[in-house]
């Protein structure tokens, strides 16, 4: 159990270098040394993020075929396509940590890696397309903007690109709702009903209260995460309240009011039991979302096999 100084020193030097990089708020790059736990945390977080983009295609994709104007159909199709693109960048970032997209997909389909719980809620009207843009993408941006400065280089750079596109999506969502609010009574009611359904799930996107968030402390120390759940949730509420007023919708929280003293909005407690149920797999759409993803994956297996066989044959022919 003794180790020679020569064995110990390099690892200690590497760790010191890593710590110094983190302390400088500089980036760790794929070829840099990093602690195993850091690598595992990153893989878990980036994979979960990538899976969220892919699963997140479904709730909005549900309305592409029914978009009520050709302009909105184009916007929605392009948005869902962007989500596929975000999934691609993020799986690539994960691959720099030595885990392949295929492995990550298997972990998702086996239920061994998570995705954002918000996508386990159903989309029930076209207004949901706007609300997801406004509230869900809005909350995602609050979560993600700090990640542009995250310590792992490929992840941070992917996030810069993603956040830029997400902001665009958020504005489009808000603009859809604004347009609908200038429409008919039925459209206004549709927007309000949608906001009623998505408000609390959006607040839960920031995760459980800080006191109950087990992974947060270490992630913050490593610069993988840069703000606490409750800080980000507060920021989101403060940002959203005036937008709701401008829109003319009521956020469904009787406890929501400006607190002059705190300089923030007070707001009610989300239903953490519902969040727990959704995380446990019993949300309204968990089974549906995974079944959809699994069906697409399985239905496509023969195509991927054909492409591989064809590529091998072509390479073989080229080599000859």
């Amino acid at each position: 159990m003794t180790t020679t100084p020569t064995e110990r020193d390099p690892e200690e030097r590497l760790r010191a270098g890593f710590d110094a990089t983190i302390a400088r708020h500089d980036r760790i790059e794929p070829r840099d040394w990093m602690p195993d736990a850091y690598r595992r945390t990153l893989v878990r977080q980036i994979a979960q993020h990538a899976h969220s983009e892919i699963i997140g295609m479904q709730p909005e994709g549900n309305w592409i075929g029914r978009a009520p104007s050709l302009r909105r159909k184009a916007i929605l199709l392009a948005k869902v396509q962007d989500e596929a693109g975000h999934g691609l960048y993020l799986y690539s970032a994960c691959e720099t940590l030595g885990v392949s997209r295929a492995e990550l997909t298997d972990l998702l389909l086996a239920g061994r890696q998570k995705y954002s719980s918000i996508f386990n809620y159903p989309t029930l009207s076209y207004a949901d397309v706007g609300t997801i843009g406004w509230l869900v993408d809005g909350a995602a941006i609050c979560n993600q903007v700090p990640l542009c400065r995250t310590s792992y280089g490929p992840y941070g750079r992917a996030m810069i690109r993603i956040c830029k596109e997400e902001s665009f999506h958020q504005r489009q969502g808000y603009e859809l709702l604004m347009t609908m609010m200038r429409g008919t009574d039925a459209q206004r009611a549709m927007v309000q009903e949608s906001v009623d359904r998505f408000w609390w799930p959006s607040l839960m996107m920031f995760g459980p209260p800080d006191a109950q968030s087990p992974n947060s402390a270490r992630s913050m120390a490593w610069g993988v995460k840069r703000n606490s759940n409750d800080e980000l949730r507060q920021k989101f509420v403060d940002m959203t309240v005036p937008q709701a007023e401008a829109l003319g919708v009521t956020l469904p929280d009787p406890d929501l009011r400006w607190n002059e003293e705190r300089g923030h909005h007070d707001f009610g407690e989300p239903d953490w039991e519902e969040l727990a149920a959704v995380i446990a797999g019993n949300g309204p759409c968990n089974a549906q979302r995974l079944a959809h993803r699994r069906a697409a994956h399985e239905d496509g297996a023969w195509v991927r096999e054909a492409a591989t066989a064809f590529a091998e044959r072509s390479a073989g022919a080229g080599a000859r």
Binding site: I54, R66, L70, A74, A78, R182, Q187
Partner: protein, 263 residues
Amino acid sequence: HGELAGYCLMLGDDALIMSQRLSEWCSRAPDLEEDIALANMALDLLGQARLLLARAAAADPGVVPALPDGSPVPAEDALAFFREAEAFRNVRLAEVANGDFAHVVVRLLLFSAARLALLERLRGSADKVLAAVAAKGVKEVAYHRDWAGRWFLTLARGTDESHRRLVAALDALWPLQDELVATHPLERSLARAGVGVDPASTRDEVDAVLDQVFAVSGVDRPDRAPLAGVGGRTGRHGTHTEALSRLLAEMQVVARAHPSGRW
């Protein structure tokens, strides 16, 4: 101008309905790259459809369905969402239900081989709008045709299963190919006027393109007769398959629930 409008509806509806079918693939493709590619092609065709429907409405406002007074629904949407199936002028190939991935590859190959040949000629249309739409579309549809050709080859020479599925899709869709290069009287008339293109004039070129894909892929050209119409009427005359009204039930449901809606 009624004729020009009708002609624009043919080309526009082809693009619109094909785009709708392609967009159904969203989140269902064999991998992310193909999911993105299919969405891209759906977007390209949707863009072509919007320009062509707008041109139809401008050429003859009479083709646009009437909506309640003061409805803010633009003409392109009135045409897309408020016509009944029999007013659509797309070929039946565009509307039949999606099958497996081989089906989308074959459908895109047949569709874009014919559309590319047509758009290339339409760049010279006496109608400046049509000429411009065609010029833009040529680049897009050339990519679609190449994508489909590449995948046709890949599936043909991939595995036994992919070969079998490809041939099955080709057999199923081939009877719908002829309609793409058959001439409707409206097309003949507009071709004479230098505004439109007679699809029959593209038949040899389209055949040659397809034959080349078949040859490279080692797949036989199907020996199957064209799908009959009803009393000679096909998609171009508004006589469709049973699939179209189902497609429209989905596509139009939200717009129709809100005929005075703003989106």
